[in-house]
């Protein structure tokens, strides 16, 4: 069939203040039609509260949620469209397939509920099951499907209902690594192929990179950063984002000439600090792979910073050993280097950071971080 699976793409605008117990969510977001926004944030930052407001399980105290020209809820006028009329789909961590229905019947559920004939609903369901690679599994009950297959059916089911906006809540976090990778690619292709406006809430930076165009970072119910994913991850504005991006993150004051004095009194040399004026607050970020570890600084090359540090622990890293140091810094080493150095926990070491690897950017360039 040549018809697109989901042809409706609509702009989502959320501008709300919502309260749940003592927690307050206060956000303004806008997702252009057909685009995918990643919402990043630590536990308790308000991600699920945000989803509940959009789905219609929680009424905001102030503000409104709109899709295109449609108002989903508006605190001022007291309008609140019930969840079943919002055309907002949801894909959760748990597939939550109806256990008493076959895969095909699960996918056909949405079209049937919205008034399609049995024949049309089943035809559409079969087409979507095919699209998620489950041709031949139509008659299986959920209990007879693997976790990954169940999540594929759940994706097909969510899309079959033709939502204007699809919300994805940690959709791959319950899957094993390989299955998650497959499912991530499939979801990315399906979302882009259908031009579905979507919001993905995730802890996993790979989810955001694979699916989303833009991202926002939530913390304590507020948007603390946002923009193109590359920019947000490349210039983290909070320890949380730095950890997501796998970057070392320091805050300090620029002394001038590419030299940053960090808040804990270290000196860090950066390749380029033109965006920051001397005396201004600044953030610095550098990749653990650029950091060298030595016992002393006798052979410190020109143009490198030295940072005193204490070894805390280490774990398997990408292509080697990821050494964590006291104070949220880390360095990647290859195993031979690591073995030659013979590090011990609690041992003082010197970190070498090439200036070329350090980016410094203004601390006041975004929303306040905490």
């Amino acid at each position: 069939m040549s018809t697109p699976l989901t042809d409706v793409g609509s702009r989502l605008v959320v501008d709300v203040l919502a309260r749940r117990g003592a927690f307050v969510l206060d956000v303004a977001l806008e997702i252009p039609a057909g685009r995918v926004l990643a919402v990043l944030g630590p536990n308790g930052s308000g991600k699920s509260t945000l989803l509940d407001v959009v789905v219609g399980r929680l009424q905001p105290e102030r503000g409104d949620v709109r899709i295109g020209e449609r108002t989903l809820c508006d605190a001022a006028s007291g309008v609140s469209v019930p969840p079943e009329h919002r055309r907002v789909g949801l894909l959760n961590q748990a597939p939550s397939l109806f256990p008493h229905l076959s895969a095909l019947e699960n996918v056909a559920f949405g079209p049937r509920a919205s008034g399609s004939s049995r024949h049309d609903a089943r035809a559409r369901a079969a087409q979507l099951l095919d699209a998620v690679g489950l041709l031949g599994y139509e008659d299986r009950r959920p209990a007879k499907l693997s976790g990954g297959q169940q999540q594929r059916v759940a994706l097909a089911r969510a899309l079959a209902a033709q939502p204007d906006v699809l919300l994805l809540d940690e959709p791959f976090s319950a899957l094993d690594v390989t299955t998650a990778a497959d499912m991530r690619m499939l979801t990315a292709e399906t979302l882009h192929g259908t031009s579905t406006t979507a919001v993905i809430v995730t802890h996993d930076v790979v989810d955001a990179l694979s699916l989303a165009d833009d991202c926002v970072v939530l913390d304590s119910g507020r948007v603390v950063d946002g923009g193109r994913i590359g920019r947000v991850l490349g210039m983290p504005r909070s320890p949380f984002v730095a950890a997501l991006a796998g970057m070392n993150f320091l805050t300090g004051t620029l002394l001038g000439d590419g030299l940053l004095r960090t808040d804990d009194g270290r000196m860090l040399r950066a390749r380029d600090s033109e965006s920051v004026r001397a005396g201004e607050r600044a953030f610095a970020a550098f990749a653990p792979s650029s950091v060298g570890i030595a016992r002393d600084d006798r052979h410190l090359p020109e143009g490198e910073s030295r940072l005193d540090a204490v070894v805390d622990q280490w774990e398997r890293g990408v292509g080697g050993v990821h050494v964590r140091l006291v104070g949220a810094l880390s360095a990647d080493m290859n195993p031979a280097e690591f073995a030659a150095l013979g590090l011990r926990r609690g041992e003082p070491v010197v970190l070498h950071v090439p200036a070329a690897a350090v980016s410094v950017y203004p601390a006041d360039g975004g929303a306040p971080t905490r």
Binding site: E84, G110, A113
Partner: protein, 261 residues
């Protein structure tokens, strides 16, 4: 068996207490007279009335009990505790007391019965009264069974159905009810069995008029008191009730195994 060995003695006695009376009943039976006894007009009349009223009571319990169970399952835990206790009341109340209470409610001078009487509706001592009495005592079996299932199923699937655009009625019909299907069937079976065996409340509230309110338990009671059908018929009917009960339990058991409960 774990635990002290001597516990076997009370265990066997307990089993005997349940099984021996039934054996005695069967032993007393004059098998040659069973067909005639069961096929006598009085017996057939009682049997037919029992089946019809018990079926009607079961329908009443389904129509009223399923929504009640859903209400209890979805309300706050404190309110649910109170409602559950109230619903269980007919289970622990002597059925005779239930019958008296129904009379005070729906009798000619009763709380509601007086107004009904004024417009010419008289419920006590009718077949309708039998159905009401049976519904009163059988309702808890259905509600308790289904309520637990509703609570276990939770609202997760209902919320998913809402995000798929399903109205509340569609969700109830296509998701909520099918999910409690096994428990609903179990509740219906128990409910029917209890309605079939109901005696006390029926006797007081509906009376004992042949063809109108004399169900099998009442026919058996009457026979033993020397009226209506003979004692042999009474014994045969008792056995029939036992057989129906055992069949119900067996059916439920094999069916529960089918669905993996």
């Amino acid at each position: 068996m774990s635990g002290p060995r001597w516990l076997i003695a009370p265990a066997v006695l307990g089993l005997a207490l349940i099984v021996l009376p039934l054996i005695a009943l069967i032993a007393k039976l004059d098998w040659t007279s069973v067909p005639a006894a069961i096929l006598s007009p009085e017996a057939l009349s009682a049997l037919t009335l029992s089946l019809i009223t018990a079926a009607a009571a079961t329908v009443v319990c389904i129509v009223l009990g399923v929504p009640l169970a859903l209400l209890i399952a979805r309300t706050t835990s404190r309110a649910a505790g109170v409602l559950r206790a109230v619903v269980t009341l007919p289970l622990v109340l002597p059925p005779l007391v239930g019958g008296i209470a129904l009379l005070f409610l729906l009798g000619r001078t009763g709380l509601v019965g007086a107004s009904l009487d004024a417009v010419g509706v008289r419920i006590p001592f009718t077949t309708g009264a039998v159905v009401i009495a049976q519904s009163f005592v059988a309702m808890p079996f259905l509600v308790i069974a289904v309520e637990g299932a509703f609570r276990t199923a939770g609202v997760r699937y209902e919320q998913v159905a809402a995000t798929l655009g399903a109205s509340r009625w569609t969700t109830f019909r296509r998701v909520t009810l099918p999910l409690v299907g096994p428990s609903l069937v179990a509740g219906i079976v128990l409910c029917f069995a209890r309605a079939l065996g109901e005696f006390g409340a029926t006797a007081l509230f509906a009376g004992n008029q042949e063809g109108v309110t004399r169900t099998m338990p009442l026919a058996i009671y009457t026979a033993f008191n020397g009226g209506g059908i003979g004692q042999d018929t009474a014994i045969a009917l008792s056995l029939l009730l036992v057989v129906v009960a055992v069949l119900v339990l067996l059916a439920m058991r094999s069916w529960r195994e089918d669905v993996g409960l």
